[in-house]
Symmetry: C2
Subunit: 175 residues, 2 copies
Amino acid sequence: MSGTPHDPPHDVDPVRLGAYFALIEVTSLLRHAIEQQLHEDGGLTFVRFQVLMRLHRSPTGSHRMTDLADAVVVSRSGLTYQAGLLERAGLVVRSPSPDDERGVTITITDAGRALLGRVLPGHEEVVGDLLFEPLSRTDAQTLADLLAPVRDHMRAAPPRSVVSRRRGGRAARDG
Amino acid sequence: MSGTPHDPPHDVDPVRLGAYFALIEVTSLLRHAIEQQLHEDGGLTFVRFQVLMRLHRSPTGSHRMTDLADAVVVSRSGLTYQAGLLERAGLVVRSPSPDDERGVTITITDAGRALLGRVLPGHEEVVGDLLFEPLSRTDAQTLADLLAPVRDHMRAAPPRSVVSRRRGGRAARDG
DNA sequence: TCTAGTTGCTTCGAATTCGAAGCAGGTCTA
DNA sequence: TAGACCTGCTTCGAATTCGAAGCAACTAGA
């Protein structure tokens, strides 16, 4: 059990703990390595890379600012800052959204796609070497299958409900 | 297939891509939610929480600065900054290492453990609700089993080799 | 023992992040 | 249409992050 003089009283499933710790650790290490590679190969941060990738993978090459911020999990003000940098570098363009005068549409430029082209090989190399080296194809499939529902679950529960967890709080568990 | 006019030429295994994206996304969302909870419940950032946790879980309640920085995947200067904040708050103590005059040993205090005690229930709640809600116990075990080797692999390949990937670079794969 | 090189930590400046506040543009209701 | 409220984005200040540089202490070789 727990509750020894110095232990905060809690009983955590060691299996869950291991999974949680490993998840955090793996992602921290991976992200750190990726930052290095992106910086060296294209002067990009991971956030800017994710922004470009999301835009590149969009059929229209563009997104609304807010949607993009949610997609890459960054604050709106943070995205504004990054969009400014990317725009100054000529990698994206911002324009007023056609349907909503308040909205801003951010679009990747050819230069942005070209930069991705220069950066992606090294990126794939790092991810391949660090993340997938110890994983079989089946393992990768399993990992994806495990994480997809988690992602959907997290996306479904609006972030706001987590933020305001204190108010209403553990009623979610108690009720 | 790739190489359409606007596509950077690369063929990525969609399974790997899905696993990689889900991993990044899940961890970003989880970390964001955790930051919120820790801030509300104890005025902690995730980094400071990790520092306290590592120290708390250590048999001696202490670590060398460098080892701790590696453990929580943060720069040395970053840890110095956080250690300063934690020390000012009375949650840790820094003292010269006995064996190496240069070294600094950082130790968690009773106040630090007490704060963990106040913060951990909410932390476990958030992690349980967001990460493990869609996962069975078996799933959690599988996830842990998949990620543990990846973590060990990443730890084995010293970060430095990743940093200096450009020099020597893909020889690691070619050789 | 001296000297050169390495290691451990901190300081410094620059970049990035966030949340709060501000502002312009929508939306809803009477 | 007017008024109140909501939304989308940006600006602002504060906090956090990193890498480079600096400094003290250790180690190895002559």
